[in-house]
C-alpha cells in the first residue's frame, strides 16, 4: 500500500514540478524553499498548516527578493509522516541546488533521519514542530527549530499534575514512536522525581479497540492518564475511557493539539488537558495580523502550527537575505545560509522574538497548558511557561 501511495504521489509531484518555472523566469536566478510535512494521511490536517504558513511567508518575502535579482519559490513535499518517504524526499531536495532552506518536519521520527541527509550538504533545516531533544542535541550546524523541546514539555505536564492539580498517581500510555515514547519518558522521569506514583506504563499501536488497555487501567483507578502520542489514538483512547466510566484526568502533549480531538472524542473531550509548544493564535500578542493575512490568502482560519511554519520560513528567509548581502548579491551557498541562521538575533516573529543557541534550539521557548472547557478547539490556556532550552546533553 505504501509503495502505491508514494508512486501515485511522486507522479503527481513530477507533474507539479515540470509545470513550475517557465522559460521567462529561467534567466533570473531562483531560490527555492522546500517544506516537508505530512500533506496526505492521518496527520495531513496538521502538516497542511505548516505548508500554508511557510507559503505565506515565502509569498510575502518574494517582493523583497525580486529587487535583489532572485525569484523565490516554495516547493512543498509530502513526507506522509513516514521516515522512509521523508528521507527519499530529502534526497530529491539536496539534489536541487536552488533549494537553500527546508521548513520541516512535523514528526520527529521523520525529521531525525531526513536531517542526516541535509547535514551532508549543510542544507539549512528549520523545524516548526519537531520537539524531540535529539533533533538539536546532535549539534549539527544546519539543524534548527523554532519550537520548544519534549524534555521541557513533558516535565511541564508533570509539574502541572503534581503541583497545580495535586494528583498522586498516573498511568502512562504511549504510541511507541520516537516522539510519543520520548515525551512519555521525560514526563515519567519528572513525575517520579515529584513523587507521583506510576501505576502503569504501556505502549500501543492500536487504532480502534482500546478496551484491552482500558480495563486494567480502570481497575488501577489512577488520578491521571498521560498519553504520549498523536490525536488519532489519543482521542479514541479518551473517548473509550470515558465510555467505560473511567473518571481519571486526561493529559497529553502537543500531538493532541488538533481540532480533530474534538471531532473524534465529542463531548468526552471536555476536561482533558494538553501541553503544547504552539499555543492558540490568540495567545500571542503579534498574531492578529498574521491570522488576518492567512485567512484572506487561504480562506481558512490559521492554526497554531501554521504560525510556526510561517515563523520558521520567515526567519530562514531573513537569514538568506543577509547571506545574499554578505556574498555581494550573488546566490549564497548552503553553508552560508546555515551560518547566517545561527547569527540571527531577536528576529521579530509572530510567535515571539527568535534567536538560536549554539545547537539550534530557540534560546527561549514558550510552553502552554490548555484545557478543553467546551466541545471546541482550541482549549483554554490555563498556564504559559517561558523557559530556556536546556544545555546539550550527550545523546
Amino acid at each position: 500500500m505504501t509503495s502505491r501511495t508514494s508512486a501515485l504521489l511522486s507522479v503527481l509531484f513530477a507533474l507539479l514540478l515540470f509545470n513550475g518555472p517557465t522559460a521567462a523566469w529561467a534567466q533570473r536566478k531562483t531560490i527555492k524553499v522546500a517544506t516537508q510535512s505530512p500533506l496526505s494521511g492521518e496527520q495531513a490536517a496538521l502538516g497542511e498548516h505548516i505548508k500554508l504558513g511557510a507559503q505565506l511567508a515565502v509569498e510575502e518575502a518574494a517582493q523583497r527578493f525580486r529587487p535583489l535579482g532572485f525569484d523565490l519559490i516554495l516547493v512543498p513535499y509530502d513526507d506522509q509522516a513516514k521516515p522512509e518517504v521523508g528521507v527519499a524526499n530529502a534526497r530529491n531536495i539536496v539534489a536541487d541546488p536552488d533549494i537553500l532552506l527546508v521548513v520541516g518536519h512535523f514528526n520527529s521520527g521523520v525529521g531525525l533521519p531526513a536531517s542526516e541527509i541535509y547535514k551532508d550538504y549543510n542544507l539549512a533545516m528549520i523545524s516548526p514542530a519537531n520537539t524531540n531533544p535529539l533533533i538539536t542535541d546532535r549539534g549539527y550546524p544546519n539543524v534548527n527549530r523554532v519550537c520548544g523541546r519534549d524534555d521541557v514539555q513533558g516535565p511541564v505536564g508533570a509539574r502541572l499534575a503534581a503541583r497545580d492539580l495535586k494528583l498522586k498517581s498516573v498511568y502512562i500510555i504511549h504510541d511507541k514512536t520516537l516522539y510519543g515514547q520520548g515525551i512519555a519518558d521525560t514526563f515519567r522521569h519528572e513525575a517520579e522525581a515529584l513523587g507521583l506514583r506510576i501505576s502503569g506504563y504501556e505502549g500501543t499501536e492500536e487504532r480502534a479497540n482500546f478496551a484491552p488497555l482500558i480495563i486494567p487501567l480502570k481497575a488501577k483507578n489512577p488520578d491521571l492518564v498521560y498519553f504520549g502520542g498523536i490525536y488519532y489514538q489519543g482521542a479514541l483512547l479518551l473517548k473509550q475511557m470515558r465510555e467505560k466510566g473511567v473518571k481519571s484526568i486526561f493529559l497529553g502533549p502537543d500531538g493532541l493539539d488538533s481540532s480533530e480531538m474534538v471531532k473524534i472524542a465529542g463531548a468526552h473531550v471536555i476536561g482533558a488537558y494538553y501541553t503544547t509548544v504552539a499555543g492558540p493564535i490568540d495567545a500571542y500578542p503579534a498574531s492578529a495580523q498574521f491570522a488576518k493575512a492567512f485567512k484572506s490568502r487561504f480562506g481558512k482560519d490559521a492554526e497554531s502550527f501554521g504560525m510556526y511554519g510561517y515563523d520558521a520560513a520567515a526567519v530562514g528567509l531573513k537569514a538568506i537575505e543577509q547571506a545574499i548581502q554578505e556574498s555581494k548579491g550573488n546566490r549564497p551557498t548552503r553553508a552560508q545560509v546555515s551560518a547566517a541562521i545561527r547569527k540571527i538575533k531577536n528576529f521579530k516573529g509572530v510567535t515571539g522574538s527568535i534567536s538560536f543557541d549554539a545547537k539550534g534550539d530557540p534560546e527561549k521557548a514558550k510552553y502552554f497548558v490548555l484545557r478543553f472547557d467546551q466541545k471546541q478547539y482550541p482549549g483554554k490556556v490555563v498556564k504559559v511557561v517561558e523557559q530556556e532550552s536546556p544545555k546539550a546533553r550527550k545523546p
Binding site: M1, R4, G41, E42, A44, A45, E202, G203, T204, E205, E206, R207, A208, N209, A211, P212, L213, I215, P216, K218, A219, K220, Y232, A235, L236, K239, R242, E243, K244, G245, E260, K263, I264, A265, G266, A267, H268
Partner: protein, 322 residues
C-alpha cells in the same frame, strides 16, 4: 488476583461486542463459501465500503443540521439500511464482474480475481474520498445519545452503542436464520449449496441464487461496517483488512460454510482477544503487553484447528446434509 477477578465481567462483555462484529462479517465469507466453495477475499472491502457509506450519510446529516434534530434511533435505522443495501449491491457487482466469468476456471483464478478486486475497491474509495472530501481518513460524527455510558451491574460499564452492536447483530442473525431455513428463497440457496447441477434441473435459477447469496452476505458485511464505524469512530480505505482477516479466521474456526459456526467462531475469537488483551500483561508481569493479544488469540486458534480441523461445528460443503 483480586483485580483480575473484578475486571472479568467487563472483559467478557467487551469480548462479546467484538465477537458479534466479527460474526456479522464472517457470515459473508461463510455463505459464499457454502455456495461456491471459494473465499471471497474482497469481502473485507465490502465491509469497509459499508463503513464509508455510513460516515458519508452521517456527515451529510451533520452538515445539514439534521444530526441533532432527528431521533437517533431513526438516524441509525436509515444509516444501517442504506449501508446494507449499497454494500449488498457492491457485493452483487463484484460477483457479476469479478467472479461469474471465472466460475468454470480453477478456483485459484477466482481467488486472484478476489485479491485484485480488493485492491481495486480500496483505491476506488481512496480516489473518490480524496476528490470529494480531500481526505480519506474520516471520522464518524458523534451522536451523543450513543456515547452515554451505561452501568450493567457494578463491574460493567459500556456505552449505549455497544449494546446497539449486540442488539443489531442478534436481530440480523435471527433474521438470516429465518431467511435461510424458513423461506423459499433460502431453501433454494441451500439447494444450490448442496448440489448446483441438480438444483438447476429442479428449475432453480442457480446464477440468481448465487447473486442473492452475495447480496445477503454483502449486506451483513455492510451492517458490520456501519457498526464498526459508529463504535470505533476512525475509518480509512484499509480499515477492512484486520477485521476481515479475523472474521475469515472466525469462519474457519466455526467450520466454513456453516452459518451457526461463523457466529460461534466470531464470539470465540472476540472473547479470546479480549481476555488476552486484558490479562496477558497482568499474568506475565508486563513482559507481554496488550498488543500480544492477536498472537495469543491466533495461537489458540491453531491449537483448536489441530484437534478439530473442520472447525468447531464442522464444515458444510456440497453433498452433505445442510
Amino acid at each position: 488476583m483480586e483485580i483480575a477477578l473484578s475486571i472479568l465481567p467487563q472483559v467478557l462483555v467487551d469480548g462479546l461486542v467484538l465477537g458479534f462484529m466479527y460474526a456479522l462479517i464472517a457470515l459473508g465469507y461463510t455463505m459464499v463459501y457454502g455456495v461456491l466453495e471459494f473465499i471471497n477475499f474482497a469481502h473485507s472491502e465490502v465491509f469497509m465500503i459499508g463503513a464509508f457509506i455510513g460516515v458519508e450519510i452521517l456527515l451529510m446529516l451533520e452538515s445539514s443540521g439534521y444530526l441533532v434534530t432527528l431521533n437517533p434511533a431513526f438516524i441509525l435505522f436509515i444509516v444501517l439500511i442504506a449501508g446494507m443495501l449499497l454494500s449488498g449491491l457492491v457485493a452483487l457487482g463484484l460477483e457479476r464482474i469479478a467472479y461469474r466469468p471465472l466460475r468454470q476456471a480453477p478456483r485459484l483464478v477466482a481467488l486472484i480475481s478476489a485479491i485484485g478486486a480488493s485492491f481495486f475497491l480500496q483505491d476506488l474509495v481512496r480516489l473518490v474520498e480524496s476528490l470529494w472530501r480531500n481526505s480519506f481518513y474520516l471520522t464518524y460524527p458523534t451522536i451523543d445519545a450513543l456515547e452515554t455510558p451505561v452501568s450493567l451491574g457494578a463491574a460493567v460499564t459500556v456505552p449505549v452503542k455497544s449494546i446497539l452492536v449486540v442488539a443489531t447483530a442478534l436481530v440480523m442473525l435471527f433474521g438470516l436464520n429465518f431467511f435461510v431455513h424458513r423461506t423459499r428463497l433460502g431453501t433454494a440457496i441451500r439447494a444450490v449449496a448442496q448440489d448446483p447441477d441438480t438444483a438447476s434441473l429442479m428449475g432453480i435459477p442457480v446464477n440468481r441464487m448465487v447473486a442473492l447469496t452475495f447480496f445477503v452476505g454483502g449486506a451483513m458485511g455492510g451492517a458490520a461496517g456501519v457498526l464498526f464505524g459508529i463504535h470505533y469512530s476512525l475509518i480509512n480505505p484499509y480499515t477492512g483488512f484486520t477485521p476481515g482477516l479475523k472474521a475469515f479466521t472466525a469462519a474457519v474456526l466455526g467450520g466454513i460454510g456453516n452459518i451457526g459456526g461463523a457466529v460461534l467462531g466470531g464470539l470465540v475469537l472476540g472473547l479470546l482477544e479480549a481476555l488476552a488483551g486484558s490479562y496477558l500483561s497482568m499474568l506475565t508481569n508486563g513482559a507481554f503487553g496488550a498488543e500480544y493479544k492477536d498472537v495469543f488469540a491466533f495461537a489458540v486458534l491453531i491449537l483448536i484447528l489441530i484437534f478439530r480441523p473442520k472447525g468447531l461445528m464442522g464444515e458444510r460443503v456440497r453433498e452433505e446434509a445442510a
